[in-house]
Symmetry: C2
Subunit: 272 residues, 2 copies
């Protein structure tokens, strides 16, 4: 089983590295297809995308629908199912890392007045686990649970800066750089150079690299054995957050990250 070890899926790209998870793997490919689409898919659309025999696909989709992972509307279109929400809600509610971090995020928010994010590195994506923001009407799922690329987000670059070099070397070639803004990294070399600087400084900036007009400063959070890597950030509009201000906030952001790590060692054991 010469399988790629651990790193996986870069965003919405198809999974070339087919995992050896038997039947489940095939079904997850379908689930990904439907959830990554930006509109409900007809049977034939999926047929073309999945490239499987009609009979097989029909049964697979039927199973996914019966389990509530997909939903089939009256017009015969497949959409992500509500079962996913229930499962995710439980996953989130109990996540130990998030629970530990929550009070520290709140404190950082009070200190800065800007939006605070908590994210985890998963493969080459950052999955946002929590955020604390102001009074705007809540659109939480718009961030929480969302997977963003690691190469153009503050939390992502901070996370990469504490990744063991072997894993970093394995991950970099697999990235497919997407130029979101003029300042997005698009070459592994420049990214790697910045990651070195970040590792030395202990914090990372997002200089409008993911979204024009949005800046952030982030610090990495990691377990001793690097089996867990994430980060915390303060984000806001560029007109309000000068680079000087962000530079000043690097200290409280790093302190927050350290407090979270300290508590993780206490609560989850120092080992890992």
């Amino acid at each position: 089983m010469a399988q790629a070890d651990e790193q996986q899926e870069h965003g919405s790209v198809s999974r070339e590295t087919s995992r050896d998870t038997g039947t489940l793997g095939k079904l997850m490919v379908l689930l990904d297809l439907v959830t990554h689409a930006d509109a409900p898919l007809r049977f034939t659309d999926i047929l073309a995308l999945a490239g499987q025999p009609r009979g097989t696909l029909h049964r697979q989709l039927g199973h996914l629908v019966e389990e509530g992972l997909l939903e089939l509307d009256a017009e015969g279109r497949y959409a992500p199912g509500l079962r996913l929400l229930d499962l995710a809600a439980r996953s989130w509610a109990r996540n130990e890392f998030r629970l530990i971090a929550a009070p520290h995020l709140a404190a950082l928010h009070r200190q800065t007045g800007e939006t605070v994010h908590l994210g985890v590195l998963r493969g080459s994506s950052i999955i946002y686990l929590d955020k604390v923001e102001g009074h705007q009407p809540v659109r939480m799922y718009s961030q929480i649970g969302n997977a963003s690329p690691c190469y153009c987000t503050g939390v992502g670059k901070a996370a990469l800066s504490v990744l063991p070099s072997a894993r970093l070397d394995a991950l970099l070639p697999g990235l497919n750089f997407n130029r979101f803004t003029p300042s997005t990294h698009v070459r592994p070399e420049t990214l790697l150079a910045e990651i070195r600087d970040i590792a030395a400084a202990g914090h990372a900036f997002d200089r409008e690299e993911h979204e024009a007009g949005i800046r952030c400063v982030a610090a990495p959070i990691w377990s001793d054995d690097r089996s867990f890597i994430g980060g915390v950030s303060v984000t806001g509009p560029a007109y309000r957050l000068s680079m000087e201000l962000l530079q000043a906030w690097a200290v409280p952001v790093q302190l927050t990250a350290m407090k979270i790590m300290d508590e993780m060692r206490i609560r989850l054991g120092p080992r890992r």
Copy 2:
């Protein structure tokens, strides 16, 4: 210590009606086991709960972990995986019903100043799809995605009131009533009687039936063919929301439900 932040409702727990979804069904049982537990489970715990041969279980869990649906920590304990968050975020972001309802929920919130919920009936549970609330620090997953029983929530009882009687008759005997507060319904007869009243009135109250000190008024939302049933509600603390006030709010809540239904007919087609 990480547990217990969540009220544990176990609505339709064990699946007696083993679905015919082959391998997927068996894996989903495991996923449910782990996500419904209130702490990470060790291999042996799951072995006891699932009642399967060790070899089989080991491979199944391995597949779930490899797909990111479960996570295995350094101490050998299984917890829900982050992949679920990503999937759910996409499911939520695109949900047509939620998107249609959102502006109407916001309007209702402006009108009442209290928390507004949007929920969908799924089996015998209400899954909350959205909420609009005040300025308190956001704990959104604490509601969104959460499955609550239908017999003791405003949205749930409103939903039941528009359920075709055949489906209601099929659903009632399967409920296992859990007395959350002194006023929780615990017998199908009294629940059925109230549902009749709700059907006549067009709105439902939650008189501290799910959580002591919390009241709400809700109205049902349904598609013509009843393939889709949900509801909208205004919720708040009993000391602030007298029954008279709730009674007065029944009108705007019902109006909100109707506006949402009107727009659903336009956007999703009147057929269903």
